[in-house]
């Protein structure tokens, strides 16, 4: 894997991921006060994604040390989330499968990223730079390299990001239609909190996960 450079790009993406985490944390809090609906499991996953991705991109903001056990912990968390969304998808395959499938793919990709030895122990940034501490990890990483799977996951993640973006416009149309059809709806009661913001968070996380997967192709 190639190191993340330039450094400002990693910092920029890390800041974006922290914003994703903050936005996803704020939605449930706002919904609780205004009696509005939320996607609790998705918001929680987005918070975890934002925090984990920011830590991978910029080790200085990582909440866990860059050790193998921390990476395994993250991997276990996202594996559990993947199982949850897989179950949701299987239990209600017609209830907007895109919702569950897209988060499921993101979680699976995060498990893959976190289990990559280079990211796991070196925070991505300096993993394979000559003369840097991550060199030892690179050797072990080579033994575990599965670039084809990384490529497939990168395709899947970016594909779902595109589908989510398309879905966002439909949500906007649904919202205006609901408001026009039923004046009670215009008071926002029962509506999802900022659905397009949630989708934007998902798309941003998808692009960053895709970026990390692409770095694993090198």
């Amino acid at each position: 894997m190639t190191g993340i450079s330039p450094a400002w790009l990693a910092d920029l993406l890390a800041a974006a991921m922290l914003a994703v985490a903050a936005c996803s944390l704020a939605r449930p809090l706002y919904a609780g006060r205004r009696d509005r609906q939320i996607h609790l499991d998705t918001d929680a996953t987005h918070v975890l994604l934002g925090v984990a991705l920011a830590g991978l991109l910029a080790p200085s903001v990582s909440v866990l040390p860059h050790t193998a056990w921390a990476a395994d912990t993250w991997a276990a968390i996202f594996a559990a989330a993947a199982v949850w969304f897989a179950w949701r998808l299987a239990a209600a395959p017609r209830a907007e499968p895109l919702r569950y499938a897209s988060v499921l793919v993101l979680c699976a990709a995060m498990v893959f990223v976190e289990l990559d030895p280079t990211y796991a122990t070196s925070g991505g940034g300096m993993a394979s730079m000559p003369g840097m501490p991550g060199m030892a990890a690179t050797t072990s990483a080579d033994a575990f390299r599965t670039p084809t799977l990384a490529l497939l996951l990168a395709f899947a993640v970016t594909g779902f990001a595109v589908l989510a973006t398309d879905r966002a416009a439909l949500l906007a149309a649904d919202r205006s239609t609901a408001g026009a059809a039923d004046p009670a709806q215009s008071a926002d009661r029962g509506l999802i909190v900022a659905p397009r913001a949630a989708i934007a968070c998902h798309v941003a996380a998808g692009v960053v996960v895709g970026y990390l997967l692409v770095l694993m192709l090198a």
Binding site: H39, V103, P147, T148, V162, V207, Y211, L217, A218
Partner: protein, 325 residues
């Protein structure tokens, strides 16, 4: 994206009530699906453009500048000039390139901006086709097996073919430009492939072997093995392999003139297989594995184009499902 609402973890009756109150998402038209596939490829290109290698001078010196070689001065000189500018400012230039491609991908996917993004993608693709790809090697005898006539011109072609339109058409690509024009574009695309594969630079006894074998290095084991076997298959049989490929490409080109039916569908399936072979064997998945690939190359785009020419069963799609909103 979303996952679970308060309503959906509520009792089943409440869940049904909530679902009933929410309008179901309309199914995507074939045209919109193809637009989204195009958007995904642009987005993937943008992500590839963020690779560390692209932020170095090497991107301009080793990827862009070499494409000028062999082209007439009127084409090559502006390319050299552009490569020099990018090499002087690699980070800001590449950041702009990546941002543009990411914006094109998300812009096509976001329905209100789909038209504008498709239009911009045509201009961007034409610029990159010249300044970044040297017209895809069309003037230098490049082989379709290796990516001729250039991947970005296919992005532009798809943007034209998938332009939002309400017009009923026998296949999605015909809705925007008309059946005759769409057929002509197909003929030019695949016919030019048949012509290019028979160029002198590609018909030597080991030209095809060397091209394919050269792609095997640094790839995953299965891909290296596949490329190695394919290279061995055409070793010392360059002319014969080129003739076979040219005949197949010419047959695919003519298929668009056939009436919709089993024969045309069979030829389109052949086109899909040829595109897959080009992508895997000739292009090694666009060499994206290795850290220096800027796009997945022509294979996926050719498959998308074939899908755009697949006969439709019903009348044309509605505009609100086409990114025309």
């Amino acid at each position: 994206m979303s996952g679970i609402t308060r309503a959906s973890i509520a009792p089943p009756a409440a869940r049904r009530a909530s679902a009933a109150s929410r309008p179901a998402a309309p199914p995507l038209s074939v045209r919109r699906r193809l637009q989204l596939a195009l958007a995904a490829l642009w987005l993937f290109d943008g992500v590839l453009q963020l690779q560390p290698y692209m932020f170095t001078k090497s991107f301009a010196q080793n990827i862009i500048a070499p494409a000028a070689a062999g082209n007439p001065a009127v084409i090559a000189d502006p390319m050299t000039w552009a490569a020099r500018i990018i090499a002087a400012h690699p980070a800001p230039a590449n950041a702009a390139f990546a941002a543009i491609q990411l914006a094109l991908g998300l812009g096509i996917a976001w329905r209100p901006t789909a038209r504008a993004a498709l239009a911009c993608s045509i201009g961007w693709a034409l610029g990159v086709w010249w300044f970044g790809e040297g017209l895809g090697g069309v003037l230098t005898g490049s082989d379709p097996l290796m990516g001729a006539p250039g991947v970005v011109i296919l992005y532009a072609l798809l943007a034209v073919l998938l332009w939002p339109s309400e017009r009923p058409a026998p296949f999605p690509a015909a809705a925007a430009v008309g059946t005759r024009a769409a057929q002509a574009l197909w003929l030019v695309l695949w016919g030019s492939g048949a012509y290019l594969v028979m160029q002198t630079a590609n018909t030597g006894p080991n030209d095809m072997h060397d091209m394919i074998a050269g792609m095997a290095g640094g790839q995953p084991r299965w891909l290296s093995w596949t490329d190695g076997r394919a290279a061995a298959l055409v070793a010392d049989r360059g002319m014969a392999a080129s003739v076979v490929l040219a005949v197949v490409l010419a047959a695919i080109a003519l298929a668009v003139c056939l009436p919709a039916g089993p024969a045309q569908r069979a030829t389109f399936v052949t086109a899909l297989i040829v595109a897959l072979v080009i992508w895997v064997v000739g292009e090694a998945l666009g060499m994206v594995i290795g850290g220096q690939g800027t796009d997945p190359n022509t294979g996926p785009l050719l498959m998308l184009i074939v899908a755009a020419y697949w006969p439709t069963r019903a009348a044309g799609p509605k505009s609100d499902q086409d990114g025309a909103a």
